[in-house]
Amino acid sequence: MDNDKKTSADSNRSLKRFLRNKFNLIGGIIILLFLLISIFAPVISPHPPNQVNLKMSLQPPSKTNFFGTDSLGRDVFSRIIHGCSASLIVGLGSVGFSLVVGSFLGVIAGYFKGSIGIVIMRFMDALWSFPSIILALGIAASIGPGIKNIIIAIGITFIPGFARVIYSQVLIVREEVYIKAIKSLGTKTSRLIFWHVLPNSITPVIVYSSLMAAQAVIAEAGLSFLGIGVIPPRAAWGNMLRDGYIYLGVAPWVSLFPGAAIFLLVLAFNFVGDGLRDVLDVRMTQ
């Protein structure tokens, strides 16, 4: 009971410290705003995102089209609103995917060490040695475009990062007295790993997840920009940037506004990630 109260007080203190920093607060608010935008996109979008109107092609920003129109006369503002969900789904989805797989591999490698650990971690080193966009490009080229495949492609490139973070933490946690005590009680190894070692090693992963979400948003936009991300005509910020790139000289708004949206979301994830690191990093707290 006392422990529960202490943990709850610790969490409250951490939350207060997190919210005290203006950058963290701004980051949190922007992410929340983008989440709401993607949920209520059909309600708040002034025009249907895929409505083609060639007579209105490449119109500059105006009262009816806040961010202007693209080469097919589609409303850029509405497409940015609808494209928000693609970025968030891929950002959070690929982080979730790599978090689950990476944590699993990292905890197994860290707990058992020995040859299992060596094989897993050398394989992680191999994946780590690829620049993520190149590997994601290769995987996406093989399994094809589309949101699900992009999540897998980006997720795979993030696995080694998560595995390494959890691995180094597990190496410390497995030597703790309480883990040895639980082990001596005859607890099953699987229960010990997933109920005791993993939850106590997870804090750095939370920080890492937020920073990687920012990278995932950039990677998704990058792949869509290269033409193997989200399949058109579905609005995605990377696709929009690519479409507008050809008209940069005559209609810069087509690519500038989606780029600004990517920048804002990435900045928000980075702010939150930095804030979480400041609050949760034990060394910094001390």
Binding site: A126, G138, A141, I143, G144, A221, I228, P252, S255, V266
Partner: protein, 314 residues
């Protein structure tokens, strides 16, 4: 040192082995028949046969893999499925361009990032430090494809200072080359600069808090002298590591910058091959990039061991 080198080379070979498995898997994970994925569902049986032969799909996976690795060890990375050029020929033209771009990005990051990092650390918690930290956060969050477009829009289309795309070879004209390389280098190097700035700042701050710096201050040495003679050398070791590791990543990450500025480098080679479903070039290109990144990391590790003897004896 020899023991360290031996261990590091063995590790690198092991990682290369895993890398080759990952790269080879790219062909295996193509859903359904890879040959159909290349030529399309309405291709004739004859076309399918040719592609299967090119991709070596007629043999068991293990045999194909061994042959593929064997050929690579002999320097044969196959032929492009669209142009029939040897991949090694294509790479020999494009590799130096990506290398030039990477080095330019690195030079930019080092020449701007380190001095600004020193200023930020020296003026810790001041207004200048706050501004520099804000700039670092912005630099780390700027997607390079968007930054590239902004640079083209402002410096090429509005001011007309630089060409928006293409490359003038360095042999033809150095200043011409500079004018075509500066915007891509800025695009690729901005995030890198922010990383170097941040790393220099935090490494220097950590060193400045150590006892021997306090002693130097107690001796009455001036701040500039303390930083120049004592703090900087010790704080630069982690910075050098970050620079090395980031250079490898920069090389691979050049794909988008090269696409935006139409630079004929390794990245645009792979990106074009992906759009043309030229799996031989995709596979070999990715393998060559991975080998290069591993080699750069290896060199960094060795340099690190030379700079910091503790690493050798770990």
């Amino acid at each position: 040192m020899i023991k360290f080198l031996g261990q590091r080379i063995f590790q690198m070979i092991l990682v290369l082995f895993f890398v080759s498995i990952v790269v080879y898997s790219l062909i295996i994970i193509i859903p359904g028949d890879a040959a159909t994925a290349v030529v399309g569902a309405d291709a004739s049986e004859e076309q399918l046969m040719i592609v299967r032969e090119q991709l070596g799909l007629n043999e068991p996976v293990f045999v194909r893999y061994v042959k593929w690795v064997g050929n690579m060890l002999k320097g044969d990375f196959g032929r492009s499925m669209t142009t029939n050029h040897r991949v090694t020929t294509l790479v020999s033209i494009r590799f130096p361009i990506t290398m030039q771009l990477t080095l330019c990005g690195m030079v930019l990051a080092v020449s701007i990032g380190i001095p600004l990092g020193i200023i930020a650390a020296k003026k810790n918690n001041s207004f200048t430090d706050m501004v520099l930290r804000a700039i670092t956060s912005l630099g780390m969050s700027l997607p390079n494809f968007w930054l590239g477009l902004l640079l083209i829009l402002f410096f090429s289309l509005k001011l007309g200072w630089f060409a928006p795309s293409g490359l003038i070879p360095i042999k033809q004209s150095f200043f011409g080359w500079m004018s075509t390389m500066i915007l891509p280098a800025l695009t690729i190097g901005t995030r890198f600069t922010a990383v170097v700035l941040r790393q220099t700042r935090s490494a220097l701050l950590e060193v400045l808090r150590s006892d021997y710096i306090r002693t130097a201050k107690a001796k009455g040495l001036k701040d500039i002298k303390i930083i120049r003679s004592h703090a900087l050398k010790n704080s630069l070791i982690p910075v050098v590591t970050v620079i090395g590791l980031q250079t490898g990543r920069l090389f691979g990450g050049a794909v988008i910058t090269e696409t935006i500025f139409h630079l004929p480098g390794m990245g645009s080679l792979i990106a074009t091959a992906v759009s043309q479903r030229d799996y031989v070039v995709v596979q070999s290109g990715i393998m060559i990039v991975a080998i290069t990144v591993l080699l750069i990391n290896f060199i960094v590790d060795v340099l690190y061991a030379i700079l910091d003897p503790r690493i050798r004896f770990k």
